[in-house]
Amino acid sequence: MIVKIMLTFLKIGFWGFGGGYAMLSLIFEEAAKFGMTIDEFADLNALDVLIPGPIAINSATYVGQLYGGFLGALVATFAVSVPSLIFVPLFMRYEEKINSSRYLNAALTSVKAASVGLIFGVALSIMLATTFNISHLFDWQHINFDWLSFMMMAAAFVLHTRYEISPIVLTLLAGIVGWIAYFI
């Protein structure tokens, strides 16, 4: 398991262009192979909001901890860090050659565009799982609409994008509202 976790996060690291949010779609797919549910992934996103630090590090630690305990978290965090430790010294040595590559820039621009679509895809999966309780887009028969989740999602989106309220505050508020809703 530990070796599998290490290889997975090496792959995520080397494949992960465009930062933490872009990497999330890779983590979403790879962690599903370990048996991670959409709920657990949504909880990871909430913890990403609450815990300081780079999203990719937070995610690696969480997935590693869940499926490999203390050692799993350590190995996953280290593995996802490996690309930085390799590319920085390499670049410092061959600076000019890489800097002039317009192909690299073109590839990165496209990957950035792709990541927008990928993140929307992940967000949609979480939305379907939390508000409609289905795991697939065309699973219409089993829809079980959850009003509380839908209201929470809509409210958080508006408060975050329109009024720029911090996601930390909104996540904690959502937790409190959910807690109270249980007793109503």
Binding site: D39, A42, G53, F157, G178
Partner: protein, 180 residues
């Protein structure tokens, strides 16, 4: 050694108090390393920041490695790198452990359900922000739409979509270059 410990301290500090991704570390780094200690100039710091985004991996860590390497060679790179990831690693380990320990039932489950719903909206918001700054051509808009459609329909996995997108970007530049 003094420089190494300083790098470690500055990155630990920056890593421990910045939320929602690594980019939020930058103002702290600028204040400490540029203004207070004068170890690196602002131009270099921001050049490395732009550069870090072109490499695969954790951007904030790549940036820390660049700065550390510039200031004090490979050993500086290691100290800055450890500083950048240690707070996130330790705090997230504790959080994950607690998360595994809490029973998911009753009011706790109800609170988690509400929290999970908000996490979808933050991802939508993140995607929207990236879209606002990066989707400037028709091809890129199409590309992101296809990537969304293929993942939403579970047709093609993310790694292959990323690779294909990179290839498409390279091909387009190549064709344009020939035309000129």
């Amino acid at each position: 050694m003094k420089k190494n410990l300083l790098l470690l301290r500055v990155y630990l500090l920056a890593g421990a108090f910045t939320f929602s991704g690594g980019m939020a570390m930058l103002p702290v780094i600028e204040r400490e390393l540029c203004n207070k200690y004068g170890l690196i100039d602002k131009e270099s710091l921001y050049e490395y920041t732009t550069l870090s985004q072109t490499f695969p991996g954790v951007i904030a860590l790549t940036n820390a490695c660049f700065v550390g390497k510039k200031i004090n060679g490979t050993i500086g790179m290691i100290f800055a790198g450890i500083g950048a990831i240690l707070p996130a690693y330790i705090l997230m380990s504790i959080a994950s452990l607690l998360y595994q320990l809490i029973p998911q039932q009753g009011p706790i489950l109800s609170a988690l359900v509400a929290v999970r719903a908000t996490s979808a909206s933050f991802l939508f918001a993140a995607a929207y922000t990236i879209a606002k700054y990066n989707l400037k051509t028709k091809i890129n808009i199409l590309l992101s739409f296809f990537c969304f459609a293929f993942t939403a329909l579970n047709l093609i996995g993310a790694p292959i979509l990323i690779l294909l997108s990179a290839l498409i970007g390279v091909c387009i530049v190549h064709i344009r270059k020939d035309r000129k």
